[in-house]
Symmetry: C2
Subunit: 891 residues, 2 copies
Amino acid sequence: MTQWVYAFSEGKADGRAHMANLLGGKGANLAEMCALNLPVPPGFTITTDVCRHYYAHEKQFPTDLTEQVDRNIKALEALMGCRFGDAYNPLLVSVRSGAASSMPGMLDTVLNLGLNDQTVQGLARVSQNRVFALDSYRRFIQMFGNVVLDMGHDDFEDILQWHKDNKGAIYDTDLDENDWQGVIRDYKAKVHEITKEPFPQDSQDQLWRAIRAVFNSWENQRARVYRQIHNISPHLGTAVNIQVMVFGNRGQDCATGVAFTRNPSTGTKAIFGEYLINAQGEDVVAGIRTPLSLSKATSEEPETSMEATMPTVYNQLLSVSHTLEQHFKDMQDIEFTVQNQKLWMLQTRNGKRTAAASLKIAVDMVAEGLITKEEAVLRVTPESLDQLLHPTLDPKAKKTFLAKGLPASPGAACGSIVFTADEAEARTRKGDAVILVRAETSPEDIHGMHAARGILTSKGGMTSHAAVVARGMGKPCVSGASSVRIDAKKKTMTVAGQTFGEGDFITLDGATGEVFAGKVPTVDPNISGDFQAFMTWADGFRTLRVLTNAETPVDAQTARDFGAEGIGLCRTEHMFFAEDRLRLVREMILADNAQERVRPLQALQAMQRDDFVTILKTMAGYPVMIRLLDPPLHEFMHLHDHELADLAKHVGKSVDAVRSRLDKLKESNPMLGHRGCRLGISYPDIYEMQVRAIFQAQHIATQAIGTAAQPQIMLPLIANRAEMTLLTTMIHGVAAECFQALGQDLPYVVGTMIELPRACLVADELAESADFFSFGSNDLTQTTYGLSRDDAGSFLDAYYSQGLLSHDPFVTLDQQGVGALITMAIERGRATKPTLKVGICGEHGGDPASIHFCHQQGMDYVSCSPYRVPIARLAAAQVALKTPKALRKVN
Amino acid sequence: MTQWVYAFSEGKADGRAHMANLLGGKGANLAEMCALNLPVPPGFTITTDVCRHYYAHEKQFPTDLTEQVDRNIKALEALMGCRFGDAYNPLLVSVRSGAASSMPGMLDTVLNLGLNDQTVQGLARVSQNRVFALDSYRRFIQMFGNVVLDMGHDDFEDILQWHKDNKGAIYDTDLDENDWQGVIRDYKAKVHEITKEPFPQDSQDQLWRAIRAVFNSWENQRARVYRQIHNISPHLGTAVNIQVMVFGNRGQDCATGVAFTRNPSTGTKAIFGEYLINAQGEDVVAGIRTPLSLSKATSEEPETSMEATMPTVYNQLLSVSHTLEQHFKDMQDIEFTVQNQKLWMLQTRNGKRTAAASLKIAVDMVAEGLITKEEAVLRVTPESLDQLLHPTLDPKAKKTFLAKGLPASPGAACGSIVFTADEAEARTRKGDAVILVRAETSPEDIHGMHAARGILTSKGGMTSHAAVVARGMGKPCVSGASSVRIDAKKKTMTVAGQTFGEGDFITLDGATGEVFAGKVPTVDPNISGDFQAFMTWADGFRTLRVLTNAETPVDAQTARDFGAEGIGLCRTEHMFFAEDRLRLVREMILADNAQERVRPLQALQAMQRDDFVTILKTMAGYPVMIRLLDPPLHEFMHLHDHELADLAKHVGKSVDAVRSRLDKLKESNPMLGHRGCRLGISYPDIYEMQVRAIFQAQHIATQAIGTAAQPQIMLPLIANRAEMTLLTTMIHGVAAECFQALGQDLPYVVGTMIELPRACLVADELAESADFFSFGSNDLTQTTYGLSRDDAGSFLDAYYSQGLLSHDPFVTLDQQGVGALITMAIERGRATKPTLKVGICGEHGGDPASIHFCHQQGMDYVSCSPYRVPIARLAAAQVALKTPKALRKVN
């Protein structure tokens, strides 16, 4: 016989905390508290098996469930000396849902079940408190009406308010016996009116309808949407918890409250919570009366605190709180009721907390000997570290919401609007704080993005140019705010019916994607000493190296400060966009032949060399993986008409000739066009220039820092062996020539980006001449999925809303598709060259779930933008701790 | 001991025809002819093993080679009764290279080797013909100088011409003994001047230098380039053939000639060739004297024909010709020399021929009992059929070359230039023949492409829009002619320094990619009855079904006429571009919500239904695979400013609103954007409309044709299971609803395009709800390779010229990359659903090499443009005949 029902009462319980899948989180922890001898109202849990059975059998319960529930009700009757439905001494119960993980949107709670027109009299007699009994009854009708009969909140609140107004009462507690009788009468009439049936009087009927309502709520619209968003299986199901009622509303020595065992905002070790005297649980939430603080220390009126009003119970609560923390080894979020000075525990669970609190609690608990460093490292959500590294909006500030875009780069920023990168730079130079507002950004806007406090775009997704660059800079960015209409010519932005011009202030919250009107105050990040200690523990556990994607000395230094162990992706073309270089780059592009390219290439070579020297010095002792020119040349040729004339004059060609060259550079699908190593094949002199600059810089940096600089040359967009062979041969040739000129051989390696499906398929051949593979997972996702990350924003919403995609594949690696190709490429590459180094340098390199995958595939490193380095370090540590060594594919 | 040298002489030979890899094609066939007792000058072949040894050992010969060559020379001396280098009765030899397959660009022939200042006297004595001897000597010096000493052609021709002018001679034969002595003296002086050495007098030295020169020529620049282009392994190597000299220049009863055993242009069964009396082989090629026809029938002056001048030898030649055809069972290309009325065979090989000849010869030889139908089917190159289906340029016409682009769609066309599709249509209506000239074409140009005789574009590759559509229409197209500058505004085209305007005539050769000025006469195709018979044989052998890509009734009918067994790809969007529909499509696109889309969708539904009815009727009894809307919506929105205003008025929106919507539709990489099934997810009503139109049409067509129409609904750009499930569920839902309304259930199946790498990786999941897979190999190549077919033209040239790519991957399937994904997808798909039907509908479906691959992977069908259907049928037959059944993966 299947056990459908698990009982618990003080000191003993059928279940335990680890049985959350069967008993739900609430039920499992109630059982655990009972087993700990903590004061828990006795009761029982109907398991999630019943829920699954219910849905598998057209909403029929298992045949033997009734008998098991009856038996447990009888046991409660025996324990409490009262009877369910008994008019003289009625047993009353609460019915609560409880899934394995808490799920907003589901039916929550029905209290006081068992009351009817008769039993309410018995309750009045037994409690010798008629007002309490009537109040409990009307609460029951109200809750049962809301959650079981599907009636509206206002159906009841309007009646209650009418009675209070009629009486001139402010609080519910101001109503007397007669008032409550009137309320109950009117409530019942309303139920009859809406449901066309009288309010159910039979306790068994009440109980089973409540149980059925809980199970039905598992599949209601809100619950389904929530599960879809949070990737929760619909097969988990919910449990139902039935407990003997304890009453916080039975008099002035009664109360109800909620508490965190430590401060969930700061992590400070002291109980933190609220309570209400003479109230039931929902009153705390309802906000009719203002709840009071538990402790004197956190109270504005210490004499109202529970510590002052109920010192004994308060101390008992502290003791329970301590027991729970010692037992669960984590900060607890608890609910309790005090009935006639006796404390009853209604719920405990691990408490939600801010990143700062999470970190402090983890570090403190290690100091207290409660948990190990390993456990501490596993406690903090890597993503949450982001909160610690950026300013945030002052939570107390008033805000005027304008629009919601994508949370493209975290942090809060406030400034006056500018519409061009040049204006951003100009105003910043004058000392203004500005927000750069663009339909989308391009590489030419980089200087403006650097200057601005934050970036807002109306187009583009989480991995659009704006988003990627902003994250790299650690700068707040809201992208793809499609309700914002930008008129770049008129320099206006229209949103939410308002038009903003240059100079008007807005505020961005890059962590939520929200845009607000005017200036909203922000709070600076506060990285405590705990942060450093904690990260050092994490570093001790991880096996993946964490590198960074950086090309400016500032970014490189930021990344070093955040713990990066080298550069995994230095995009040399970013160095081409500075004003003094852009002209040279354009001259090079407009050259009709290699001869004409000589002059600009020589000038660029000196500049690139100097860039590389700085970066190699910053990363002294660490590898610096330098990717040769990647983007299509037209990215350097966004020109206004007057610039075009200037340029034509500068290069000594006709405007028509320049325009014709620009036309030829245009591409239908630049992502799949003349870029990456294809440039190096068409214009070998450009790649040769870059390689020469690298070796010259290596020579200079090595002499300057006294230790060998470690450049690693990386070829982008390789698709076949012939490209790889040709270009590595070229690099080795240039190396030989440079080393001869320098009179010194320098160490270097050559590798390839793996960013095309074909490269994965022929990885065995590529590994013949590659020393390392760096997965360019952004482009690999674009090609594998046939999905342009710049364009996907416009249609992926339909995918999310219909549940066709659970994650943005540009944020979290698509393991089934892209991941399968990565796995294949690593296997094939290492089959050819077992010493092959493998890493990832796409956006996924900073995403914890993707890092998890990278670790399991046996990669050597991940590389991410500077501000995600700490996140990656922690994620790498966690996966190393979680993954049995046997499961990891190692080199 | 390795046998490095293979001897042959009349009646016996060490080698045979099948040993071409070892002896080269020429040597193997000389041996075979000897074995057949045909008159071949005795000699021997130095094997390709020696060539490989030579390059593997720093150009050293095997040590025992000298001894083997010496022994064979001695054998020739004994046979001929003369001695190598003997001043009185010298042995003279020819030295010829001979690789396994003939390779232009390599050293070809040195004749008369063994002559020097002494032996020339002996030859004069023995032949009693001093002029002949001297002529032979000067020829030897000249050929040796050219091919062994690397001297220029003019170094000698200038001297010869001087002597002829001096004498007032027209022909070489006008020179006398003294003249020749002067020529020889001057030749030797020139050799000394250029090489700083006297002309070698030692016969052994001459021989070994000639042998070495042949081997060296294997690695000369031209040979290497040729091998690269034709995918010939450098390790094959060449052989060297050394034969006793026979002389066609020894008097008026001597001659030299070449012949085909049947007419290589028409296939007519009659010897076809030319000869020269008193000449050596190179004279025929050199064009100094005009060669004469062999037979009276083909001669303009029958009395000069060999049939008339040397009737006995001519009959002997006919007899040899017959023997060779009977033996080799194919038309032969032969070289011969007549020395004093005796015929000597110098070479035989299978003759090159036109497609028409190829077909006729194959069919005739079956009738003659020479070959089987299987052999006949294997004889004709599938690609060559293209020549039979299109007009070609009159080979005799004079042409003024302007430019060379890509041979995008075969056939020749001549017409006056137009620069817009509308103009093309207007002028064609007036009866003009026009050529549409565009930088590139878009789907909106289709009506103009239909109207034009041919299409010329300056951008785009072999698989650009223009190329694909033109091939589909069977219309000549030259694409990517990058030297053509088009100014669409001024309506001019500038090329080769000339500017052409509207109305000027040009001529295209789509088979070669050439563009000519003015009108060049063309020759119409002539599909004989042989074609039908031959194709019927082919159909008997193939197992792959051949379908077509078509959406217009005309194309569908053309394809049926060419033998298509259904439609493998009907691109419904092509039906959207007609003028009356485009307005509705735009109205649909500009709708703000589904409600606004109802009206245009209903109108479109009726039109689509009618389209489908016609096509289903045309393909009565065959499957018609209909792809739902695929291209991004902006493809329908190329609007001029005035059209925009009209449109805005029509749809009742402001111009700004329309413009803003157009802006939102723009994409960075449309190929990877909002298209394919993504449209069906965002706008389910569009797909529902199309599906409804299909079922309604099926109902109407089935009733009209009395047999079930077979629509197969195809979903484009599927990337994951969720898309597939959602959309198949939608289709089944619409089907149920339609069938209820129609009062009849109709048969249909639903399948998916496989055109993304991810689709291949999750093919097992897609097969759960797909009845068939159709590989969209164009897009699959684009994504797997990360290569935009519209943009690749600009940089792939550098790949071909550097040998990084041997084939255009959009023409011939990349088996290693894209093919590996296809193999994976078929395996995974059929693992889920063994009955899954699989085919290909990209451009590769009409490419013989790709069809080969498709057959081996166990596909059920290929689908290609109508004009490639015969090619596909023949290719499918050939691969079925060539592939052992065991090697084919079958369902």
